[in-house]
Symmetry: C2
Subunit: 182 residues, 2 copies
DNA sequence: TATGGCATGTAAAGGGTTACATGATTTG
DNA sequence: CAAATCATGTAACCCTTTACATGCCATA
């Protein structure tokens, strides 16, 4: 289980609320580890019971109050300990790719439409990451090499996917003429 | 849940035992959806209860007997139904990337060593996929465009990862001189 | 003789998803 | 006026992981 470690990594730089973390899991870090708000609130509860994080209550006006969490010494120690031991293999659940593999039974038009919609999302992400990378690059990237490298991974990943998508479109478009579903 | 659909996709082409499926999940399809043998046997049990797959018992000599599963009409129908509806977003759990993101607290040497070991695995996979792609390409790739495209995805993915790994090595190697952990 | 491949499973514990629940403010 | 954003949670169910269990054959 390393949802907890992903949370500790995020809290390393700055204190954040559960909501903030959920946003980060939906964007940046979500590319490598995803989690929903329910999971996050639960895990924050456990982490604070175990004194790995600590929170302060922040009242707000016009918005609900929030809890800002930060790392404790124990939390930082646990993170360092975890960073030393080898990471397990990455796990993926990519339903779209399963559909492509089973494509001979699918309607080519449906697949192509889905491909386009995914490509759109990927292009948006790519743009976001490229902008981010440039900003990090300008503001001296030695301070945040790790952020920079993480973002680079995102960029290369999006590009590779988009390149693949073009190959798919090529292969499927001129075959959609004669085999348009059963 | 689409472990079941991944299984149905695999059984589409040929009958297979749980053990065979587990091997495929460890290799080819494992790149996009992974599952262990326990999960597979459990799911095959459910699928056969629901008449989506059917098995015949095959006695063997010198080896344990096995059950060869194949799709039923209901199974094929279910697969076609599933292929029509949009796939959910891909989910990933990549602990190594979490470690990179939290890298400032990590020992650079440890990270680099892990990077090398992962790179080795990726290079092996890449070679396997490239060989497979070539074979599919030679034997007329129109029959199995979907297999071909799946393999291409694997190739592009490995290449992108390896390219990223070189960037990481570059960035971290000349900084490991002065900052070799705390 | 120990390790790895073939082949199948069960059980408990832990992790993750989906649905439910609330409520004010801002934006379209 | 509807939808989205901010902000936090609980509960039930489902899925996944880890550990346990068996047993023969071939290879090192």
């Amino acid at each position: 289980m390393s949802l907890r470690h992903a949370i500790l990594v995020l809290l390393q730089d700055q204190e954040a609320s559960g909501y903030d973390l959920a946003r980060e899991f939906a964007n940046s870090i979500g590319l490598v580890w995803n989690a929903t708000h329910q999971q996050i609130y639960l895990e924050l509860g456990k982490l604070s019971e175990q004194d790995m994080v600590h929170y302060r209550h922040v009242p707000q006006e016009g918005k609900p109050d929030k809890k800002l969490y930060s790392l404790t010494e124990a939390g930082r120690t646990e993170l360092v300990r975890w960073l030393k031991k080898p990471a397990g293999p990455a796990r993926i659940r990519d339903a779209f790719m399963v559909k492509v593999a089973g494509g001979s039974l699918a309607d080519t038009q449906v697949l192509l439409a889905e491909l386009d919609s995914l490509a759109k999302q990927r292009r948006e992400r790519l743009a976001t990451f490229e902008a981010l990378a440039q900003r990090l690059d300008e503001s001296g990237r030695d301070d945040n090499v790790y952020n920079y490298l993480t973002v680079r991974r995102g960029i290369l990943d999006q590009r590779a996917w988009l390149q693949w998508a073009e190959e798919v479109r090529h292969s499927l478009e001129h075959r959609s003429a004669d085999s348009t579903a059963s």
